[in-house]
């Protein structure tokens, strides 16, 4: 196996190669550990590399020989640093004194990945408590002077750079899809309740979604197959059958009804993003999809609603830290957001939940006429480090407001959404296309995303040496 083959191979490809005996978990893990050692000092994607990664890989190889392979046997994966992981530290990105998380227990996702045979190779960097969009100090593999997006920026950078084929992220307002779009990876946020959040450090209880960042749509489907399912430890987790999420990946989009919402999603993007998304929608129409245009005025209140819910929830979670003065040690942006939570009134919070109910109903009505909704994932591409405001469309916005503008509607509504690479801007930075679907219809969402992926042909890779 060549080095390039090993580190750019998808999970599906690695699975096939290991099944054929052409490589082993130990060989792949050893290679990726060396690549992390060589490149991650510049990227900063990992905060911890498992000391026992090679031992996990050897144990997986032994198990394969003796008992056969499990679903993802021997494949190295990483977890964002807000997932409890037995034997590995979890910090949720904070260095504040007096805040510690257990190291002797697995989150539900870590449990399921282990049970599927994965090697848990390490933990990836998150913006503190999964707030924020820049994941400091992680760099974007396509341009080290740019941010990777966040808050799952470590996973985005690690997957895009070929350090690991899958990194888990968590998504409260877009934190899986934003780094996926900025780093040129796939990022999947499942339906709220599809994957257990047990053992993930909470950000906002009704908005948090776990999900994978991968280099292919197929890998996102394979990972979801393993992660999905009921867990009574998560009060929101739903007891529903788990389908084969890869069943329709090759089906194409002939006859698929695609919705495009012109306000909010299509009216304030950079020219490069808008041109790219328009071109992909035209491609999908040429491939047999039927495109229906719509408007949804309630989206105008989405930012107000998610701010109210997220600030109040985060404020409640960190209330003791604020009361005891420990929030003073948080990063300044995170401290402001957490401490603002006390200033959201109960009436504002419940009005936000009313807006949310209206928005969910309007999406339901639209989904009577369409099967998926297609939008840009981000209104712009990754910006240079240090920027506090960006321009997309006709106005300047804070980087937070811009980066989650097109993603948070699907956190407020809990609908499944995926970002898939769909092109590059003039500066060579990736652009993502977002596909959303009805609750628990990830199969149709993945079908559309896989079609876009095939349209793009052989993927470009960042030049990292």
């Amino acid at each position: 196996m060549s080095d390039d083959e090993l580190h750019w191979a998808s999970m599906a490809r690695l699975r096939a190669l290991m099944a054929d005996g052409r490589t082993s978990s130990e060989e792949v893990t050893r290679h990726l550990l060396a690549r992390i050692g060589a490149l991650d000092t510049r990227l900063g994607g990992f905060v911890h590399v498992a000391e026992d990664a090679l031992a996990q890989a050897r144990a997986s190889d032994r198990r394969r020989r003796r008992h056969g392979a499990r679903a993802l046997e021997g494949i190295p994966v990483a977890l964002k640093d807000n997932y409890l992981t037995r034997g590995q530290p979890t910090t949720a990105g904070t260095t504040a004194a007096g805040i510690a998380f257990p190291q002797d227990a697995d989150s539900a996702c870590a449990e399921r990945l282990r049970a599927a045979g994965c090697v848990l190779i390490g933990k990836t960097r998150t913006h503190e408590f999964a707030w924020g969009t820049v994941s400091p100090p992680t760099a974007n593999p396509w341009d080290l002077e740019r941010i990777p997006g966040g808050s799952s920026g470590g996973s985005g950078a690690a997957v895009a750079a070929g350090l690991v084929p899958m990194g888990m992220g968590s998504d409260t307002g877009g934190s899986i899809r934003i780094p996926a779009s900025f780093c040129g990876t796939v990022g999947l946020k499942p339906t709220f309740g599809r994957v257990s959040r047990h053992g993930i450090v909470p950000h906002s209880w009704s908005l948090d979604h776990p999900g994978p960042l991968t280099r292919t749509v197929e890998d996102a489907a394979l990972t979801l197959d393993v992660l999905a399912g009921y867990d009574p430890r998560d009060p929101a987790c739903q007891d529903r059958p788990v389908p084969d999420h890869a069943q329709d990946l090759g089906r194409g989009v002939r006859g698929l009804r695609i919705g495009v919402i012109d306000n909010h999603f299509m009216d304030r993007n950079t020219p490069a993003v808008q041109a790219c998304i328009d071109a992909r929608i035209a491609d999908l129409a040429r491939a047999g999809a039927r495109v229906r245009r719509a408007r949804m005025p309630i989206l105008e209140l989405g930012l107000a609603a998610i701010f109210a819910i997220e600030l109040a929830s985060s404020g409640a979670y960190h209330d003791r830290a604020v009361a005891e003065g420990r929030s003073a040690q948080f990063q300044p942006d995170v401290r402001d957001l957490v401490e603002l939570g006390r200033l959201v009134t109960a009436v504002d919070y419940l009005k936000a939940e009313q807006v949310r109910a209206r928005m969910a109903e309007e999406f339901r009505q639209l989904f009577e006429q369409v099967d998926v909704i297609v939008t840009p994932t981000e209104p712009l591409t990754a910006w240079k480090r240090g920027a506090t405001h960006v321009r997309a469309g006709d106005r300047d916005e804070s980087v937070l407001a811009a980066s989650w503008r097109l993603t948070y509607p699907f956190n407020l509504t809990g609908l499944p959404a995926i970002s898939v690479p769909c092109g590059f801007d003039d500066e060579g930075m990736p652009i993502g296309l977002q596909v959303a679907a009805r609750p628990f219809d990830e199969v149709t969402m993945l079908r559309c995303a896989a079609t876009v992926e095939r349209m793009m042909g052989t993927p470009r890779r960042p030049a990292l040496g």
């Binding site: 009704s206 009060p235 402001d336 009005k351 939940e353 009313q354 807006v355 109910a357 804070s398």
Partner: protein
């Protein structure tokens, strides 16, 4: 929010009391200034009448029993 950004000490004290925030007055004043755009955005919720709409918060009295497997 500009006027609130320079709240007099009694007003800051009242705000601390009503919201229960443990932040010192000077920190609260700085936070109000830094968070003004966000608080203004949230204030937009007060402009809409949604009285006939049940919020997306459902209390489920059986949840504890379901978790316990009963």
């Amino acid at each position: 929010m500009d006027t609130e950004n320079t709240l007099a000490a009694p007003a800051l004290s009242l705000l601390r009391q009503v919201t229960g925030t443990p932040l010192a007055p000077e920190r609260l004043e700085a936070l109000l200034a830094a968070g003004a755009p966000i608080l203004e955005e949230i204030a937009r919720l007060r402009t809409v009448d949604l009285a006939d709409l049940h919020p997306a918060v459902i209390f489920e009295p059986t949840a504890a029993y379901r978790r316990a497997g009963r």
